[in-house]
Amino acid sequence: MDTRSPTGPVAVALAAAGGMTVLGMALSGAGLRRSGRRVAARANAVVGAADRRTAVTAARRLNRASGTLAASVLFDSAVEHYRGGFHNKAMYTPLVAATLSLLVSAHGHRDRGHDAELARDLVYAGAGLAGLLGTGFHVFNVGKKPGGFGWQNLFYSAPLGAPAALCLSGLLGWLSERVRDNAPDTAPLVLGIPAGRVVGAATAAGIIGTVAEAGLLHLRGQFHDPFMLLPVTVPPVAAGFCAAAAFGGAGRPRPLARWMLRASAVIGLSGSAFHAIGVARSMGGWRNWRQNLLDGPPLPAPPAFTGLALAGLAALSLLEDQPE
């Protein structure tokens, strides 16, 4: 007899969430060919010069990406640092930085102008810096525990990857300002490189890092549910397409890349649903939330994939608009 799979309501809930996820991933591929043609037509219409409106649209998309990541970091670090009792005052930093990043991202999302804002830039830079410092702190903390950088501490000590998400939020935000800020009739550039390529490369790297984090934690959970494989299989493919786009030819539609990114966005959202089921099936379920929100699967973590997927889509738009 198989005693390894759950029965009863848990099994039903898992099957439902799984079904919705698969359906969502499939639907996210629908209509891509048509929109691809549209993009191509538009690109042909403005030969030689990128549409500034596209740049602003892409920038706002990046603001949303940055904001989504910031929200994920905000809630995740709030939960994790609450667990740690904020025993070190520095543990408030990611909360402040992520909140600000979230706020300016919202501001950027509503801003249809094409000028960078100093305040947004400062906040984004700060978030990036805070993320770097956090990573340093976490590395230091893990290193001094018995067992050092062994699996045990990678699993249970301060997560090395978590502060990096704050870095990414800052970075994407900063990039959004650069994209928005391009001179009329030029393709958006960052440090002299076409913005689409920079954003694409950064996104691909970010996705890979996030996959590593999810992989580590899902390994800790022994991939006990088959759907736990999704975040370590689909997003890496999306990252691959994203990188290929970043380093490949511009000005053409990439429906597969779009599909995989959208699917990753779906996984990010459904991940939270799966994690909510995980909380429910822990001892005491939601009634024992003070334990299970901390010890159970983290609800705010998976949407990091959604944020990065948004950034990837922005990169694709930029690249599609970019003249060859």
Partner: protein
């Protein structure tokens, strides 16, 4: 349990968690039953029970600022139920017999030494007698072959101390979290306290501890 600042865990009472997620139904029933143990002896006669109470008072003297844990009643309940431990040393008679004989012997020793019942001796005299029992130095015929030292370590100490630390008042006293199901614990590292655990009044943080302990649910 106690609110006195002298306590190590001021204001902490495990029972404040009774209706929260740290307790489940079966635990509530078990602890309710324990808190309502019949105070009158059901196995021992009043005279032996009086001796037992006196012995309990010396093995675990209790703080004056809260109601005593009725230790003698718990030991009597164990005898009444004949709740065995699963083994006994070959030189000891079975549970009930050992207690009956031991309590009678302590009284006999008290009469022989001081002309009064054990329960009527001064604390110091009681302690001396118990210490001699512990050391195996008693030899009144009332022991009837049962070694006093074995009786002391395996019955007196074992049964009374177990009854005390089975009681919520004792748990509160030592800052122990008590029942923990369905909710267990989250913060596993040193110096990390879950908000539903006792907070210790280290020097300088007595007020914080009191405040935190009042919030334990």
């Amino acid at each position: 349990m106690t609110d006195g600042t002298a306590s190590r865990y001021p204001g902490y009472n495990v029972l404040s968690k009774r209706d929260g997620p740290s307790w489940d139904e079966v635990t509530r029933q078990v602890i309710d039953r324990r808190l309502n143990v019949p105070r009158e002896p059901r196995f021992l006669d009043p005279e032996r029970f009086r001796t037992l109470k006196a012995v309990c008072g010396r093995i675990l003297p209790q703080p004056p600022e809260r109601p005593d844990v009725p230790l003698a009643a718990h030991v009597d309940a164990k005898l009444f139920d004949n709740a065995l431990d699963g083994y006994r040393h070959a030189d000891l008679p079975p549970l009930r017999e050992a207690w009956l004989r031991g309590l009678a012997a302590l009284d006999a020793e008290a009469h022989a030494a001081h002309g009064r019942a054990f329960a009527d001796l001064a604390y110091r005299q009681q302690d001396t007698l118990l210490r001699r029992c512990e050391a195996g130095e008693l030899s009144h015929p009332a022991w009837d072959g049962m070694p006093p030292a074995s009786f002391f370590s395996q019955r007196v100490l074992a049964d009374i101390v177990a009854a005390y630390y089975a009681h919520p008042s004792a748990w509160s006293e030592i800052g122990y979290g008590g029942p923990a199901s369905p909710r267990g614990y989250v913060r596993m590292g040193a110096n990390r306290r879950d908000p539903w655990e006792a907070s210790e009044a280290r020097p300088g943080r007595e007020r914080t501890a009191l405040k935190e302990n009042r919030r334990v649910r």
